[in-house]
């Protein structure tokens, strides 16, 4: 069972840069879980990429990128990108581009690409957290009860960090399935889905900025309850269903 978030975390409207680390505890918990899982993961790919990242030469643009909040999620993304980076190099070579034959330089370039991806992913994670915090704050007045807040907060957690969090809860398979499918949250959490939907609808109509995020939210936890009005809300909303 996902522990309910503390209400004070929904109060923040602060700019993400000024958010304290505890501003989004679920996500930070997720980061810790991901970090723990990554550490215990003995995949040679991951350890190899970690080595590369640690051993890469200093200097260059990628190094500057690393200064951007290197979250565990971003590390995971960078590691996941390694096959694509290798493929990219192979394609460039196949296309007739004369690449250096120096293996060390090629490995350093791969590491630099991963570092670049990591920096971009860190910004994306940061953006996602910011949107979720803003969305939670935006929706809060619509249903101030703890149950409603909890439900809405879960609904807002449709960034990939949220998904990682659910993955990392390590429920038994049957519960993992249920937990991973956010649609089941409406059954597992107390609260009134109708009130949540009303709040979501109001937010969609009043804040175009949030539409994208709400689209993600609405495709999962609130799908059944949103059915009656979803198609009349916005084109983006409808197309995401």
């Amino acid at each position: 069972m996902i522990p309910p978030p503390a209400p004070e975390h929904l109060n923040t409207r602060a700019h993400p840069a000024s958010l304290p680390p505890e501003a989004a505890p679920s996500l930070l918990d997720a980061s810790e879980h991901v970090a723990a899982a990554s550490d215990s993961h003995d995949s040679s790919l991951q350890s190899a990429s970690r080595r590369l990242l640690m051993e890469r030469p200093s200097g260059g643009r990628a190094d500057a990128g690393l200064a951007v909040d290197p979250t565990p999620e971003a590390t995971l993304v960078a590691e996941a990108f390694r096959p694509q980076a290798e493929q990219l190099l192979a394609e460039l070579a196949a296309a007739g581009l004369r690449l250096t034959a120096n293996a060390a330089q090629q490995q350093a370039a791969l590491a630099a690409i991963q570092a670049a991806v990591k920096a971009v992913a860190a910004e994306a994670v940061s953006d996602t957290r910011r949107q979720m915090a803003a969305l939670a704050a935006e929706l809060r007045p619509a249903d101030p009860s703890p149950a409603g807040q909890s439900l809405l907060w879960r609904g807002a957690q449709c960034g990939w960090a949220c998904r990682l969090q659910r993955l990392q809860r390590r429920d038994p398979p049957s519960q993992l399935t249920v937990g991973w499918r956010a649609a089941h949250l409406t059954r597992r959490l107390p609260g009134d889905p109708a009130a949540a939907c009303t709040a979501l609808q109001a937010a969609v109509n009043s804040r175009p900025y949030h539409q994208q995020q709400l689209t993600l939210s609405a495709t999962a936890p609130f799908r059944p309850a949103l059915q009656p009005w979803r198609h009349s809300c916005s084109p983006r909303f409808s197309s995401a269903s």
Binding site: A37, G60, R61, A62, G65, L76, V77, E79, A80, F81, P83, Q84, A85, Q87, L88, L89, L92, L97, R98, L99, T100, Q105, Q106, A109, A112, I113, A115, A116, V117, A119, V120, A121, E123, A124, V125, D127, T128, C158, G159, W160, R163, L164, L167, Q168, R170, D171, P172, P173, S174, L176, T177, W180, R181, A182, Q212, L216, T219, A220, A240
Partner: protein
């Protein structure tokens, strides 16, 4: 877990979850596409023996992103959802 993976209901839920995860990841990365292409292009430059051989960034960006972003999202989902499911 193996038995569960063979269940049609579970397979359907897994497909849905994968699609939603892909959408979430691609959406999160969207504002940073240009930065990603620029950084990767920059990292590739030292590898090329003939300095002018690599396409300019403007020409490199579109085909790179078209291929790399879906693959990247797919990799992330595989690294998280699928691998973790199998391990559990």
């Amino acid at each position: 877990m193996e038995a569960l993976l063979l269940t049609p209901v579970f397979q359907r839920e897994l497909r849905d979850a994968r699609v939603e995860a892909l959408l979430a990841i691609q959406t999160a990365m969207q504002p940073h596409e240009s930065a990603l292409a620029g950084a990767v292009h920059s990292a590739l430059a030292p590898l090329v023996q003939a300095p002018q051989a690599l396409q300019p960034l403007a020409a490199f960006q579109e085909p790179f992103l078209a291929e790399a972003l879906p693959a990247l999202a797919s990799s992330i989902v595989e690294e998280t959802l699928l691998r973790m499911l199998w391990r559990d």
